[in-house]
């Protein structure tokens, strides 16, 4: 600082001030230009995009969820219905403190942890001002409590939505499947725009298989709404297209008869009309109430179902793979006749056991344990089917060889999914040398051919496959993809046809003869069914071993724990001269076929004679 005595110099001050004013004005002009050019760029350069955005703000596209299609049985009985249900939702943007609001809501209506979890997940994916559902199916009282407290709960919305209801929940649990709330994975897979406003989707069964047409098309309305989401007026409306109504081949009478006949036993019943391929009954017991799943099943209910030893969630009819046992013998018989290896008159000696050439092992016939001898000195096809002679089929299987057996059995639908219109079907196993090489990397042993010949060993079939095979048998080679769906909105839908199985008519007649004898013959394995019967039925019994029984050991039902007892199987079709129904039945741990065959009688009686039976 040079000066010690500073003197005020007004002229210098004034000059400096003027200079500073010029600089200040320059800065002011410069910055105002910056600000103004910003407004220019927003209002002129980017005008179009902001105009669009403002319009999008003002006008909102609101989804109008479609009504889900109804499902009827063949008699017009409503199996899946929509009922109005009240939903509690929260608009996040209108709630100041979400945690407080949720706590207050929890004090008014019960909210489970699952509800909260679902809510939080949906909250992440919502669009601005979209109502996120928190609790479904409010009771009358809960609605009243919410209505009273509404004034202090801004952003809380209660509105009605149609919700799936199954009037016969347990009766059709495995036949229909169910809808449930859309989960995270599904939300990712589903077309987002199609499911705006829809909270539920088909999870399994018919509900899932026909999801596309049951769901319908979402509608929209253009509404002018304010920032709080309040709709001020509707500008435009595109109505939703409701889902189609489905009529199924299922018959509630047969379904009920089958479930009643099964009682508290575990098992499955599939009935098919061989003329149409329509599935008349699809039963797996135990079932469960599908309504539980519609709104998110409680953890307790779910673990009870999941952890039950009886696996009620398991659809035995299409997922259960069982050794078909002797129920394959009619098809085996056809194979023998068609291949020319046997004629109806060809007979084999039956000492009650069978030996492969050059092998000391005895392959026993089931009769040996009961009579100590074979069915008869010599057994031909008719008796072999009627009395379920193992020795006859051991011999036939050996002569046929496993790969030809595979080729003859395949047209009946074994070893591949039948393609029935529901979900989670499993393919079973129809063994062959190639199959064993690929699946187990092992060579085929001759002894295994004998087991396969009586439906044991590697062979596995679902009750659905057995029903389809029986249906092919009943329609003399007509092959159809089994269908649950009978009509869409009243328009009949035909089952897809497959290449028919061409076989000699007299061969069918010979096998029918044997199957008739099973029920109507004096020594038939299901001769008890003939009592009081008003029609002719063809059938075949079967038994599937649950645990392997050692050579020479004697199987005693009483001594074996219930869950280790044999599965009882039975296939049948009727009336014999012009079959209209083919059934396959399995009773898990039923002990033997006698547990299954009476169920077939009840089912067929109901179908042919009506409820009067």
């Amino acid at each position: 600082m040079p000066e010690l005595i500073a003197l005020k110099d007004p002229h210098r001050e004034s000059r400096v001030y003027s200079a500073r004013t010029v600089i200040a004005i320059a800065i002011v002009l410069g910055l105002l230009t910056v600000v103004f050019s910003r407004y220019y760029s927003l209002q002129v350069t980017e005008y179009e995009s902001y105009k669009t955005q403002s319009e999008r703000n003002r006008v909102q596209l609101q989804p109008l969820p479609p009504k889900r299609g109804l499902i009827y049985d063949r008699n017009g009985v409503l199996l899946a219905d929509n009922r109005p249900s009240y939903i509690l939702s929260v608009v996040r943007e209108r709630v100041a403190d979400l945690d407080t609001t949720l706590a207050e809501l929890a004090a008014l209506v019960p909210i489970s942890e699952g509800d909260l979890e679902n809510f939080q997940k949906k909250l992440q994916r919502r669009r601005p001002y979209e109502a996120v559902p928190l609790r479904f199916r409010l009771t009358e009282q809960e609605r009243a409590r919410l209505a009273v407290n509404r004034y202090r709960l801004p952003g809380v919305v209660v509105d009605a939505q149609l919700l799936r209801h199954y009037p016969y929940g347990e009766l059709f649990s495995h036949a229909l499947g169910y809808v449930g709330r859309i989960n995270e994975r599904e939300a990712f897979e589903l077309d987002e725009s199609d499911y705006r406003g829809t909270f539920h989707v088909g999870k399994v069964g018919v509900e899932k298989f026909y999801e596309d047409i049951l769901h319908g098309e979402v509608g929209y309305q253009n509404v002018e709404s304010n920032a709080h989401g309040r709709v001020l007026r509707v500008l435009e409306r595109f109505a939703p297209v409701p889902g189609v109504d489905l009529t199924l081949h299922l018959d509630i009478r047969i379904q009920r008869a089958a479930i009643e006949a099964l009682g508290d036993r575990r098992g499955a019943v599939v009935a098919i009309d061989p003329r149409t391929g329509g599935v008349l009954a699809l039963v797996s017991t135990p079932g469960f109430d599908t309504n539980l799943f519609v709104n998110g099943i409680s953890t307790a209910d779910y673990s009870a179902l999941r952890d039950s030893l009886d696996v009620p969630l398991f659809n035995r009819a299409i997922q259960g793979q069982y050794p078909p046992g002797s129920t394959v013998k009619p098809m085996m018989g056809m194979a023998g006749l068609e291949s020319g290896l046997v004629t109806p008159e060809t007979s084999v000696p039956d000492p009650g056991w069978y030996k492969l050439p050059g092998d000391s092992r005895r392959y026993r016939d089931w009769i040996l344990r009961i009579r100590g001898t074979g069915h008869a000195p010599r057994v031909a096809l008719k008796m072999a089917i009627a009395e379920s002679c193992d020795v006859y089929f051991y011999d036939l299987a050996r002569r046929l060889t496993i790969d030809r057996m595979h080729d003859y059995m395949q047209p009946y639908g074994f070893g591949q999914r039948t393609g029935v219109d529901t979900t989670n079907e499993r393919p079973g196993v129809l063994p062959s040398t190639r199959w064993k090489r690929e699946a187990m990397a092992q060579a085929w042993y001759p002894g295994e051919t004998l087991s396969a010949g009586i439906g044991q060993g590697y062979m596995l079939a679902t009750p659905m496959q057995l029903a389809v095979a029986t249906s092919v048998m009943a329609s003399k080679g007509q092959r159809k993809v089994p269908r649950l769906l009978k009509a869409i909105d009243g328009e009949p839908v035909a089952a897809p046809l497959l290449e028919p199985l061409i076989a000699n008519d007299s061969n069918w007649a010979s096998v029918y003869d044997g199957m008739r004898e099973v029920v109507h013959g004096e020594r038939g394995t299901a001769k008890k069914l003939a009592k009081g019967i008003q029609y002719e039925m063809g059938g075949k019994t079967g038994t599937a071993q649950v645990i392997g029984i050692a050579q020479n050991a004697v199987y005693n039902e009483d001594e074996v724990a219930e869950r280790h007892r044999h599965h009882g199987l039975f296939i049948a079709f009727a009336p014999l001269e012009a079959p209209t129904i083919a059934v396959a039945i399995i009773v898990e741990n039923g002990g033997g076929s006698s547990a299954a065959s009476p169920i077939a009688r009840k089912v067929i009686d109901t179908w042919l004679l009506g409820d009067a039976s």
Binding site: L32, Q43, E224
Partner: protein, 380 residues
């Protein structure tokens, strides 16, 4: 004084010839008054729409204007010498009340800014917007200009103390405005360029520590939001996205008075207070913005003009500082609403609803008028 007479424009010499007009007698600067009247009228017009056609809000605002105009005219009657004499005492009183706020203040929204006396609440920091430049100008007016190093340091102290007290309330926006109003005095006093470069360097260097230690989370969030509003569409970014949409969708023409959908349908937050320019831009278009900016520019130029013609260095410095502070309001508000600056609570001067800023600003214009008429009185 002869120099001044010669420098005066044509109109000025006419004034001399005539007996003093009513305007001169009542220390009114007519061009400034007219500009302010046009601006406030336009402001009320916009407010009617921005408040959702709430006549009550317009009347309330009109009442504030009435009070503010009275204060302005009263303020204009007080001589500059008196302002200068009061400055140190007002400053001490101001700092005292700020300290009182610190200990006995009333809070609102997490900040302690208000002092309540006999049921009347007022915000001492608001008064400091005038008192701080008055005090700095008082201090420097007595000394040789451009100010020497020691004077600069003392001036910075005068600015820094109240600014720091307000910063801890916390009220960053007001603290910055007050600091600016004091620093503008230094700038107009002719402070050396090296100080300014030094300050600029210091500001840049302190950016990192300020970010780390001084700025609160919500303040950082505002800066981040300004840089990328899309990052938080429903939260902090919402305001900026909606205000930009409102401005942009106005185009050149505007949607028409009362036709702005962004504000009418509540998309625009704070539409009648800090974000009112967005309503104006939406409804009156860029034309309306141009009109507003022109009005502001004319007021600013008038302010600078008054400063240039001021008689005393005190008057000069006050005029310069008040004008520049007014500009800061305009710049910060228009900039933040358009997404150029982070959102701080600075109203659009004389347009945004709210009495406090109106009264302070108009009191400032009262001082400006006192400056403008001081010379004339002396000239006669």
């Amino acid at each position: 004084m002869g120099d001044y007479v010669r420098q005066m424009p044509h109109q000025g010499s006419q004034d001399l010839a005539r007996p003093p007009s009513a305007a001169t007698r009542f220390h009114i600067d007519i061009p400034l008054l007219v500009l302010l009247l046009i601006l406030t009228a336009y402001g009320l017009f916009v407010l009617y729409s921005a408040s959702g056609q709430d006549m009550g809000a317009v009347i309330r605002q009109g009442r504030y204007f009435l009070v503010a105009y009275v204060i302005m005219i009263c303020g204009a009657q007080i001589s500059l010498q008196r302002y200068m004499r009061w400055a140190p005492w007002l400053y001490l009183l101001g700092v005292g009340t700020l300290l009182a706020v610190m200990f006995f203040g009333v809070g609102a929204k997490g900040a302690q800014r208000w002092l309540s006396i006999g049921g009347f609440r007022f915000q001492p920091s608001e008064i400091m917007k005038l008192v701080v430049p008055m005090a700095v100008a008082w201090y420097l007016a007595e000394r040789t200009l451009p100010p020497r190093f020691v004077f600069v340091i003392v001036s910075l102290g005068l600015v820094g103390l109240p600014a720091a007290l307000i910063l801890q309330q916390p009220d960053l926006g007001t603290a910055l405005l007050i600091a600016a109003s004091g620093l503008f005095v230094l700038f107009m006093a002719g402070i050396g360029w090296r100080y300014m470069f030094g300050a600029a360097l210091l500001a840049v260097a302190s950016a990192w520590p300020a970010w780390m230690f001084v700025l609160k989370d919500y303040q950082k969030q505002r800066i981040l939001t300004m840089l990328d509003p899309e990052s938080d569409k429903l939260g902090a970014g919402w305001n900026i996205i909606q205000s930009k949409t409102a401005i942009g969708s106005g185009g050149w023409q505007g949607k028409g008075w009362l036709q702005g959908t962004q504000s009418r349908l509540d998309f625009l937050p704070e539409s009648h207070t800090d974000f009112i320019i967005a309503v104006l831009a939406e409804e009156h278009g860029l034309r309306g913005v141009l009109l507003l900016v022109s009005l502001y520019l004319l007021i600013l130029l008038r302010g600078f003009w008054i400063g240039l013609r001021a008689q005393s260095s005190y008057g000069r410095m006050m005029a310069g500082s008040l004008t520049l502070t007014f500009f800061v309001y305009v710049f910060v508000n228009m900039g933040m609403v358009a997404g150029l600056l982070p959102v701080v609570g600075v109203p659009l001067p004389l347009v945004s609803a709210g009495g406090t800023s109106i009264v302070t600003l108009m009191a400032g214009f009262g001082i400006l008028m006192a400056v403008s008429t001081e010379k004339r009185m002396v000239s006669q």
